[in-house]
């Protein structure tokens, strides 16, 4: 029927099994590139192979990010060599030893991952606020990790994120701030935005300014008030039609605008943002409804407003808040 019948299945079998020689691997690549339909068929066979086992499946890393990492490792090399050549000419062979040492380190078989000094930040359940070397502010939500190279402020500012974080980036037009997350990049000049990575999607909510989200050659602009979504399985970038609820960013910005929602929902968000625990001594109060907005107010102020609005008693004891009383107007 179609080209599907003439697929080089035996070659692909060897390839996926890890049995392909370099020549065979090149043949597979050439075949994939030869025709658009080949790529589609290749993807189907690859899906069969990947889905048959629950082990790690193939995912192509973002090429631009990988190239940046490579450049970061290449950068010091030419300098070292130039110096060596000049000094060698001046002082003769005494430096041969030094060259040998350099070569040894460069050709060492396991000269791979950790040549670049990385700073890592990781959160468990608590939220973490941090200032980066370029004075940008980052708030890591629970179960999030962030990495950047030491001296990252010297050229482009690259950070690697997994999980959810809020960024308030200082404006430095000659040094773009780039977040690598999953297999996409989010690039900004100076702005504040939130990135949330889940199993199915990466969402970027922009509060001020604009950012660009890109994967390979495709990219989209996300402006203030908009939410850009990357669908991980379909590998597609797009804008969310509706504006996002900025309360979702409350954990970082401490800016809330509650519109007729239950006290339980409100306190859940406050718990995250302020690292407190709210205990309802009267469970019925969880369903009290209220509307109010708070802009980075102290926790005592917020609970004072709540107690006045709903006619409840809020008692704050270190990082625990007890809510009691008979009811809310009802």
């Amino acid at each position: 029927m179609s080209t599907a019948e003439h697929l080089p299945y035996e070659l692909l079998g060897k390839y996926f099994s890890g049995e392909a020689s370099p020549e065979e691997a090149m043949a597979v690549e050439d075949w994939i590139q030869a025709h658009r339909d080949h790529r589609k068929l290749y993807d189907q066979v690859a899906a069969v192979w990947d889905d048959a086992s629950l082990q790690q499946r193939y995912q192509l890393p973002d090429r631009a990010t990988a190239l940046e990492e490579l450049k970061a490792r290449l950068a010091p090399a030419p300098v070292t060599r130039k110096k060596t050549v000049i000094r060698w000419m001046m002082t003769g062979i005494e430096l041969l030893g030094g060259v040998a040492v350099i070569l040894f380190f460069l050709f060492r078989p396991h000269h791979t991952p950790k040549t670049l000094a990385l700073v890592s930040r990781q959160t468990e359940t608590a939220i973490r606020r941090d200032t980066l070397p370029d004075q940008s502010i980052v708030v890591l939500n629970s179960h999030t990790s962030l990495q950047y190279a030491t001296g990252f402020q010297d050229t482009a500012r690259w950070v690697k994120l997994s999980g959810e974080a809020w960024f308030d980036v200082t404006s430095q037009p000659d040094k773009p701030f780039i977040v690598a997350v999953g297999d996409i990049r989010v690039q900004v000049l100076g702005t504040s935005f939130n990135i949330r990575e889940s199993d199915t999607a990466i969402a970027v909510m922009v509060k001020t300014g604009a950012v660009s989200m890109s994967r390979g050659d495709s990219s989209i602009q996300v402006k203030a008030g908009q939410e850009g979504i990357y669908d991980i399985s379909r590998k597609q970038l797009g804008l969310n039609g509706s504006t996002f609820n900025s309360n979702q960013l409350g954990y970082a910005t401490r800016m809330f605008s509650f519109e007729n929602i239950t006290l339980k929902d409100i306190t859940t968000q406050l718990e995250k943002a302020y690292g407190i625990r709210v205990i309802f001594e009267n469970k019925a109060l969880e369903n009290c409804m209220m509307s109010s907005s708070f802009e980075n107010k102290p926790i005592t102020y917020i609970f004072e407003v709540i107690s006045v609005t709903l006619n409840v008693t809020c008692r704050i004891d270190k990082d625990q808040v007890y809510i009691s009383g008979t009811g809310c107007g009802g």
Partner: protein, 180 residues
């Protein structure tokens, strides 16, 4: 498509251009051997570092492409050898399962397993040994008293049948759903 070394001064650009052109294919190839996305990325990076170092030694007409594929191949085999040594010390390594994968494809996985069960016994046995036990073709051939060529043919057959069952059926359902 291939890029050749010319004695140009802008070697940096050559390395970058090669990276842009071959990164995807090399990474995919490294993954087939190492079965780990990060390790595969490290392998490709290491090979490009080496390419950078050797950029002046390479023959003017030598193909960068075949240099890179060969280097990735040898690098990956080296990593595997190291892992084997490590595994001998660390008695048993529990395989790393990605949660994401488990969640997303449980249903698909179940469906594929059904199709694998319906393969002919020899075909199923060979496919399982390669895919699930990670055995080398040569080992499978020796175990079953077959030629390596037979293993290749059976693996190809398994992939062909499984692809057709999963995708042509899906297309038919989609077609029916769209036009009926």
């Amino acid at each position: 498509m291939d890029i050749h070394f010319s004695r140009a001064k802008d070697q940096e650009r050559l390395v970058e251009a090669s990276f842009q052109t071959y990164f995807e294919g090399l990474h995919r190839y490294a993954f087939t051997i190492l079965k780990d996305n990060d390790e595969a990325k490290d392998a490709v990076q290491a090979v490009f570092l080496k390419l950078w170092e050797k950029r002046n030694e390479l023959d003017a007409q030598q193909s960068v492409k075949s240099y890179l594929y060969t280097a990735v191949y040898h690098y990956c085999l080296n990593v595997k050898r190291h892992e084997k040594v490590k595994d001998n010390y660390l008695a048993q390594r529990t395989p790393v399962y990605e949660h994401r994968n488990e969640l997303v494809s449980k249903e698909t996985h179940r469906r594929i397993m059904e199709h694998i069960d319906s393969l002919s016994p020899q075909c199923r046995l060979i496919f399982s040994k390669s895919r699930f036990e990670g055995r080398k073709y040569a080992e499978i051939a020796a175990d079953l008293g077959l030629s390596v060529k037979t293993v290749e043919v059976q693996m190809g057959k398994a992939l062909k049948i499984l692809r057709a069952k999963l995708f042509d059926i899906m297309m038919m359902i989609l077609f029916a759903w769209l036009f009926l």
